[in-house]
Structures are given as C-alpha cells and as structure tokens.
Amino acid sequence: MSAENEKFPKQHIVGFLGSLVLTLAAAWAVVGSGLPTHWIIISIMVMAVVQAFIQLFMFMHLTEKNGSIQVGNMLHAFFIAAVIIAGSVWTMSFGFSHNHSDNGGGGEEMQMEEQEHNH
C-alpha cells in the first residue's frame, strides 16, 4: 500500500477511467453494436463483472489486512448469488403457457428466453 501515501491517487484514477470506458462500451453494445441479443447480454455482463472487480480491488482495498478471509468471503458470496439467481430461474421456468392453448411449448420457450436473459 505504498501508493496510499502518494499525493496523486493513481489507482483511483485508472479505476475510474476504466469504469467509464466499460460503462460506455456496454451502452454502445446495446444501442449501436447490432450484435445478436445473447452476445450483447454476455458481453455486457462480463463488463459488469470486470467493473465490480475494479471497485473491489482498486477502490475498496479488498486484499488489505484480513485479505484472505475477505477475498474468500466475497468469492463465496458471488457463488451463492449465482446459485440463487441461476437456480431460481432454472427451477421456476416451467408450466406456463402464455396466451396459447398448448401446455408444454410455451413453457419451453419461456425457459430459453429467461435463461438467455440471465447469463
């Protein structure tokens, strides 16, 4: 943490610029890229994760002092979050028919859509 005593907060500025670039890139991916929907979703989710790591490591000093416990705890938290979100979407996407009379098909479509949406 020698950087901490410097007058110029280099780490913060790099992190900030990185976040701005990633945010704009994500917005452009949605508005202007013309990529297929699922590629847009995958790419912007990846960019979100990168941004989260910028915050955790460059702004929040995750690795300081009790670093190993904190890093382990955060990783576990992300794992639990993934289980909660992916698990809920997976187990909850069945048995719905939206405005048409068959039973199975609607549910399947819905499931695909939702999964795509989530990952």
Binding site: I41, M58, M74
Partner: protein, 202 residues
C-alpha cells in the same frame, strides 16, 4: 477485547484489534448484502416479462437517463475513494471536501431516481401494476434506500469528524462508510446492466 495490540504504523483505521474486527465484520456484512441483492435480482429475473396490462420496460427505459444516473454514482464512488485517500494522507480538510462532493453526487442520483419513479408511475407502471413492475420498483428501490441511508450516515459522520477531528475511531468509521458507498456502486453496475441495458434489448 484485547486493546493492547495497537500498531503504530499503517492506516489509522487499522491501528487496533477492534478496528480490524470491525472492518472484517463489515466485509462479512457486505457478503450478506450480496445474498440479499442476489435474491432481489433472482426475483426480478423470474418475474421478467410479467407486465400484465402495464407498459413494458422497452417502452419506458431511456438510455440517457440510465447513463446519467450511472455516471453520477460512478463518479461519487471515485470521489469517495479520493476522500479515503486523503484521509490516509492525514488531511481532514481533503477528506471533508471530497466527502461532501460525494454526498452531492449521491443526492443528484437520488433526485434522478425519484424523478424516474414518478415518471414511470405517470405512465402507468407502479409497484401495484404487475409482478414485473413490483420487482423492478423493489429492486431499484432497495438500492435507492441504501443510498439514502448512506447519505444520512455520511452526514452524521461529517458532524463527528468536525467535532472530533481525525482519530482512530472516526477514521475507522469513515473507512467503513467508504466500503459501503463503493459497494452501492457495485450493485448499481449490475442494476444498470441487467435491468436497464437488458431491459432495452430483450
């Protein structure tokens, strides 16, 4: 409660065993907060598309608005980082200045969010109108409530900093507040991405 392991070097907020435990405890709390928001995100994802008779998100979400809110919060997270940086350099004045800038940005974010909610309600999308909109308002609202709480907390801290100056205890409290504020930005990144951006493409 051994108050004897004080260190003489390193950042002020880590000087005693208690301080270190508080910071660790807060990190664990943030882990719990991740589980909390994950549950809200899961609910949002599962209820996605259930708009009933209310407008769909594509009809209401606007990129400029969402981007503005994102930039406000991103910048506030950055200024908050600078505030902590100043604190570690031992500058109370720098800390207070940047903290107040952070607060102002946070208030700006809140203002936009309130405007957004009112606007949506005007268009017929309210907490009560459908499962999708319930989950939208509760997810973003929970984040907004966290920001509000953070602002109140920061005000209390500024008063304490003015009264007591920078010492071990105020430094630790400020550092913890900083963690909280950055964390809100982490959550917002995911909100922006999976609610606003994905809401605009799907």
């Amino acid at each position: 409660m051994s108050g004897h392991s004080e260190l003489t070097t390193g950042p002020l907020e880590y000087r005693s065993h208690e301080d270190r435990m508080t910071v660790l405890g807060f990190w664990l709390f943030l882990g719990a907060e991740i589980a909390l928001f994950a549950t809200l995100f899961a609910t949002y994802a599962v209820l996605f598309g259930r708009t009933a008779d209310a407008p769909t998100p594509q009809e209401l979400f606007e990129m400029p608005m969402a981007l503005t809110m994102t930039f406000l919060l991103l910048t506030s997270s950055f200024t908050c980082g600078i505030a902590i940086h100043e604190m570690r350099r031992g500058s109370l004045k720098g800390l207070l200045t940047w903290l107040i800038i952070t607060l102002a940005l946070g208030l700006g974010f809140l203002g936009f969010e309130i405007y957004e909610f009112v606007h949506y309600a005007h268009e017929g999308a309210t907490l009560q109108s459908s499962a999708y909109w319930s989950s939208f308002f509760v997810l973003t609202g929970t984040h907004g409530a966290h920001v509000t709480l953070g602002i109140c907390w920061a005000v209390l801290l500024i008063i304490q900093l003015k009264k007591r100056g920078l010492n071990q205890m105020t430094a630790r409290k400020t550092f913890v507040l900083g963690l909280y504020w950055h964390f809100l930005d982490v959550i917002w990144i995911f909100l922006f991405t999976s609610v606003y951006l994905i809401g605009m493409v799907v």
